[in-house]
Symmetry: C2
Subunit: 341 residues, 2 copies
């Protein structure tokens, strides 16, 4: 039977959905990094005028979606669906940001792969004929994540060099069934990959095998070589995880060029003391909706492979001696015209 | 532009996906209730031979999916995707049950609406042409949920009469692009609804407004009256939430007949001391894959409206004084032939 699947993990869209708008909001530290000028809103103290870090994260999501809707020229009521999730237990940044939106909602948990997961599913629903406009969104907040996954800030915990800095930020994308691009042409969906990493302070190593697995599946399924893309970007592997991905490809005899990681791009390691780089659902979300899609709009990037990477890490499971599974979802984005494709 | 949307929240499938298999595993208490004879596997002590409650929940998921695959006559490698999630922080019952499956995976968080959410998305992807077989799955475990959401069992906490008993169980459904039914014909996707309930021991009241909202949207969008269905069933509102839904409809002048709730069906309140009934992702999952789909196979049920209901409850948000939002997704299932529809 004919389907849009090509290979085991990839689909090619019959009518590639278009990105109609994108927006973001970030925290103070993100606004002091090398991508500072690309963000829609930079908070002054990471509280976003709210009384808890969790509520601050909700506030960022609301802002990111508002910016994305505004750029798309849409009202919330014109959205057929919202796909969203976040890192907090029960994804509360998302639930509370959407309770006044009055839009059909599918909740996701993909850890830091959520931006790519939400875009994957949104694009599949549009290509499948289930609507005309769908939003994809996620967020993370350094302070809410520290409290939940590690220690409250007041504890003053020290981090080892392999640790990453959870991004304070939210990004949202509006996908449209018709439009002038950039277009989502392919989605490669990841599997749960667990290579036995048990160090909760080394998420890059936990996620890198999943990134490699999905990237290899993408190239195998599409027949494309890595050089097809102007940029291949993973979500938040950080400097250590990025090196591991390069090593994996080198073992396959492939020198991966045009490859970078959002966790490496977001902060300046010389100035900003973030150890192995940025992490969190918000990392790839704000680098995509801030830097990368603007580069595409300027014509500086034509073909982008955007790979969200998630560590399915749980403090409970880690305390029970479990290793940390990872997952990675890849979305191929192009500025090339898809009219009549 | 033509889409498969009918109204704001509902889609009608062009080629209704078929249920090819379903399976489940439940705990000891569930195996002593009125539906005992319908389950594939009943554990003897809720540990499922594992060393933690979380690992026991993972074990149940593996069993449920194996039973469903077996009944569908499929190997895991024939699945295009798995949609799954659970109640545990970071959905670890799911991550760990799937790490050896080698199947593309989309993680969900819909609280106790997850069975309906996963079936909704699986059916949309099949109808959209993205594969031929997709699994939808979820689970919950009384002991892992008590520890995470309330108190460890050892604490011996007392529950008020409005509280529900989290189901120990997992259910899985295999959806197929072609088949002999039962067929999924419509999906109505819920919005986040929050009517201000702050009592974490009264989930039925928190979810009932979401159930009412989605049911009303379904009848509005499809033009069907409630009497079209042999049975309308909500996920896990329990006896109190069920009464609230009936009251809401009564306010609209509608006497809802043929309506029941999985949280009412699963246990015998006279014998089993479960207060307001069953809850948890596993509740609607095992009632569907145990009792309801078997009734359909026997010809005793022809048209079923299956409504997963989720309380997006977070202990952190409740401690910050927040109310508890709810969500409900509805899936219309029929045994009527859909050939050539």
């Amino acid at each position: 039977m004919d389907t849009k699947k090509i290979g085991q993990q990839t689909v090619r869209f019959a009518a590639p959905p278009s990105i109609a708008g994108y927006g973001n909001a970030v925290g103070k530290k993100e606004g002091q990094g090398p991508l500072a000028s690309y963000f829609d809103y930079t908070g002054q103290d990471d509280s976003f005028s709210e009384k808890s870090w969790e509520k601050a994260e909700t506030a960022m999501q609301k802002m990111a979606l508002n910016y994305a809707l505004e750029k798309a020229g849409l009202q919330p009521g014109q959205l057929d669906y919202i796909f969203a999730g976040d890192l907090l237990n029960q994804c509360i940044a998302t639930s509370y940001s959407l309770r006044a939106r009055n839009v059909p909602f599918f909740g996701l948990y993909g850890a830091c792969s959520t931006m790519a997961e939400s875009m994957s599913l949104g694009a599949m629903l549009l290509d499948g004929g289930f609507g005309t406009h769908i939003a994809a969104m996620t967020s993370s907040h350094f302070c809410s994540a520290e409290r939940q996954y590690r220690n409250p800030l007041e504890y003053g915990g020290q981090k080892p060099p392999t640790a990453q800095w959870t991004t304070t930020g939210s990004g949202a994308v509006i996908l449209s069934r018709e439009g002038k691009g950039p277009y989502l042409t392919h989605v490669t969906t990841g599997k749960v990959i667990d290579k036995g990493i048990t160090d909760a302070n080394n998420m890059g190593a936990a996620m890198a095998p999943a990134a490699f697995s999905t990237l290899r599946a993408h190239f195998r399924d599409t027949g494309r070589s890595p050089s097809f893309y102007d940029l291949i970007v993973t979500g938040d592997l950080g400097s250590l995880g990025k090196e591991i991905v390069l090593d994996f490809f080198a073992q396959d005899g492939i020198k991966l060029k045009n490859y970078d990681d959002c966790g490496v791009l977001l902060f300046d390691p010389q100035r900003q003391d973030v150890h192995a780089g940025a992490s969190g659902c918000g990392c790839s979300a704000v680098v995509l909706t801030g830097y990368l899609l603007r580069q595409m709009a300027l014509g500086k990037l034509k073909n982008l492979l955007f790979c969200g990477t998630g560590a399915l890490h749980s403090p409970t499971a880690t305390m029970q001696g479990e290793s940390i599974p990872g997952i990675c979802h890849a979305v191929a984005i192009t500025t090339q015209s898809q009219e009549g494709s």
